[in-house]
Symmetry: C2
Subunit: 158 residues, 2 copies
DNA sequence: TATTGTTATACTCTATAACTATA
DNA sequence: TATAGTTATAGAGTATAACAATA
């Protein structure tokens, strides 16, 4: 498997001799710190493939739900309809996704991966797995699963 | 304490009958989902005070490190110098932060909270604590601390 | 009337690079 | 030469609103 160089780390988790006040006690800020670190590594690993995290998740969702409509994809990704157009345009311009006519609803497009899109996704998925293992390398498998489970329970809606 | 209404939730964590493929197994995506939910709630709670998460963290850091220089603040927040200027301009325009002359280095500014800034920060901190408790309400105290500890260990640098 | 996708537009966030004034 | 801050500018990303076609 290709060796992907780790992120160049522009962001210092803790600047020496600086007090972080209440930030150190907040889940939200711990999340932000982690997210910056993860995003940097993702970008370093997938950027050379011209894949952003949003493009990746869009392709994964399309692959897992062939012939998904744009509106649904937007709901899944949490992006407005107009934003989905941009994302899909980008994927289509790269030849990774096609818009096909919906059989019964002439307003809607159905999204599918092209053969090239599937090939790229396989490669990207490998890199993303390596990336995910890298950013959670200081966690045991149990801790990693625990972390995901805890994150899934965050949110203000009980 | 004022009752802050919870976030309006535009983002659905799971859309019914939709497969999420590999996304469900990734720390990075769990983080993203959680982050969207948390950000929405933060915005709903602090937005009325004209405080963004970045303004909040900047003020906390300035409060915890009076007479901090802009460059240092940028390193702490993980923002480029030019970005710090924008943030500080916004805080200064609201009368919450002042730029004072550095005694020995005429190039640098020292940042301090104004009296009004300190008052606002006290109020904001209360709301942020309520917000943080709200988004982690489905976690026990132990789980919450555990989550923060796990998040702090994420990152590609061993 | 409501919905799907599109366009136009704008706003936020952030970065790079060039600039100034110091050091 | 290097550094602190500023400005200009541009590029993502995202949202709202108006619109066309269709339901």
């Amino acid at each position: 498997m290709a060796r992907i160089s780790p992120a160049p780390q522009r962001f210092e988790r803790r600047v020496p001799d600086i007090g972080y006040g209440v930030l150190d006690e907040l889940v939200g800020y711990a999340l932000r710190r982690a997210q910056i670190a993860i995003y940097e590594d993702f970008e370093a690993a997938l950027g050379p493939m011209d894949i952003t995290s949003q493009r990746f998740s869009a392709m994964v969702v399309i692959a897992a739900n062939p012939a998904i409509a744009q509106g649904t994809l937007g709901r899944v990704l949490g992006v407005a309809r107009s934003g989905v157009v941009q994302v899909v345009n980008g994927l289509q311009a790269r030849g990774w996704v096609t818009r096909e006519a919906h059989g019964t609803d002439a307003r809607a497009w159905l999204l599918k991966l092209t053969a090239e899109g599937r090939t790229i996704l396989v490669k990207a998925r490998r890199r993303v797995h390596a990336h995910d293992a890298r950013v959670s390398q200081r966690l045991s498998t149990t801790e990693r699963d625990q972390l995901i489970a805890l994150l899934d329970r965050l949110g203000s809606k009980p």
